[in-house]
Point group: C2
Chain length 231, copies 2
DNA sequence: TGTCCATCTCTTGTATACAGAGATGGGGGC
DNA sequence: GCCCCCATCTCTGTATACAAGAGATGGACA
């Protein structure tokens, strides 16, 4: 495999090997190269990154605490499989958290931030019209991050990021839903409008609705796929 | 010091040394034996618990990800000192999260859970009247945990627990505020009433108010103490 | 006397070695 | 033929040894 860690382009000023490994594995999970349920063997990871098990263990521990990996003492670590009911609970929280971000954002975003959000939104419109799914997905993420940052509340952002990271491997599926991209854009539209108008409660409601709709699509998706545990 | 880990009474079925150390340090921080800003030296901790540095490092990493400890590569770990503005932000989130818990709890608590909550509340009343501050503080924690559990949403509970843990070392101060215990009880009263009545919005509002008041007391406390960083 | 640089020490980061808990597979008993 | 038990083996948890960076300290020079 030879994934020499040098590949990591993040500013690794002072970063340790463990951090680099964590980022690499995180990315693997995020992009679906490591599916939920996959076992993380310390020895083979050590070989893959050409380092010892010690930093690998540290990286895994960090992932465990981020919720991306599950670990039982003496039984190793696996990429966290998400039980359906738990996933629904997470979306439930996510909708409230993102709603909260939007509410704060409506009150606190500077004029510059608002304009940047508007530009992002316009960009996503272009991607939607061009039917560029991957690009839309990427901008969509930036959009949500912009709103989260607009809350000007760091702990809240951390919570939102954490939930987003844990749901990301699944979130992607929904874009296959008929008309989802278009609907998603329309929902974003409501959010942007409310935030630009500085209307906290409208922003809250719009964002909450946007995320809640995703729950419905998921449960639908899962009920078609069957099975209560998504791998 | 000789803190032989055996002291930990938690069901350590399968728990590792690292877990035990984490719990011990967590408790130290929680109870104020380790003040924010204190340096966590791996070697001395290893000696204190009579184990090697490896599990100590793992424990510290876990604490870092819980937010209780801060760590910079090659510069060691310190018990996280909280900047004032960040603490206020955390309380801001906490009030929403706990409000959310209360809202869900009002809808979802079983009759047994409601009665248990009522009993807890009655116990705290006794402690208030007997002026037993420490006991009141302990029951207060249980009260909040009961409401969180009543939300029947595990990710939400985790978030709430995380915030609570990070704020706990500071939360304690407020009980010195004149009449705080009595007021706190009255606020709890509103929460209990709303939950028992199954009124989600009232429960949300009452809990949110309860936690918000704590923010005011904190900012007051801090403005008296001076300094933007509380050690 | 103050400042800057080199060295030294102390602490953290990483590697490796060892020990023990679970998993696994084969053999024996029913 | 099937199931249970035990030996073995693999992988995790812990200990210890080594490397390397950051800060401290002391001396030399301005």
């Amino acid at each position: 495999m030879s994934d020499r860690i040098a590949a990591s382009k993040t500013a690794d000023k002072g970063a340790t090997r463990a951090d680099e490994v964590r980022l690499a594995i995180e990315e693997d999970i995020f992009l679906g190269r490591l599916r939920p349920g996959t076992r993380l063997d310390e020895e083979s990871l050590a070989q893959r990154f050409s380092i010892s098990r010690t930093p690998i263990r540290e990286a895994i521990l960090q992932l465990v605490h981020a919720g991306l990996v599950e670990k039982q003492p003496r039984q190793g670590a696996v990429v966290a499989p998400l039980k359906l009911h738990r996933m629904v609970q997470m979306f439930e929280v996510m909708s409230e958290i993102e709603g909260l971000c939007a509410r704060f954002a409506a009150r606190r975003m500077s004029e510059e931030e608002k304009q940047a959000l508007k530009r992002l939104h316009d960009t996503s419109k272009a991607h939607m019209e061009a039917r560029e799914l991957d690009a839309y997905y990427a901008v969509n993420r930036s959009f949500h991050e912009a709103v989260q940052a607009g809350s000007h509340n760091e702990p809240l952002q951390e919570i939102a990021r954490g939930l987003f990271a844990r749901l990301a491997p699944y979130r992607r599926y929904q874009l296959n839903h008929p008309n989802r991209v278009h609907d998603s854009f329309t929902e974003h539209d409501d959010v942007v409008e409310a935030i630009l108008a500085g209307d906290p409660e409208a922003a809250y409601a719009a964002m909450r609705r946007h995320v809640t709709i995703q729950i419905d699509i998921f449960t639908e998706f899962v009920s078609i796929m069957g099975g209560s545990e998504i791998q």
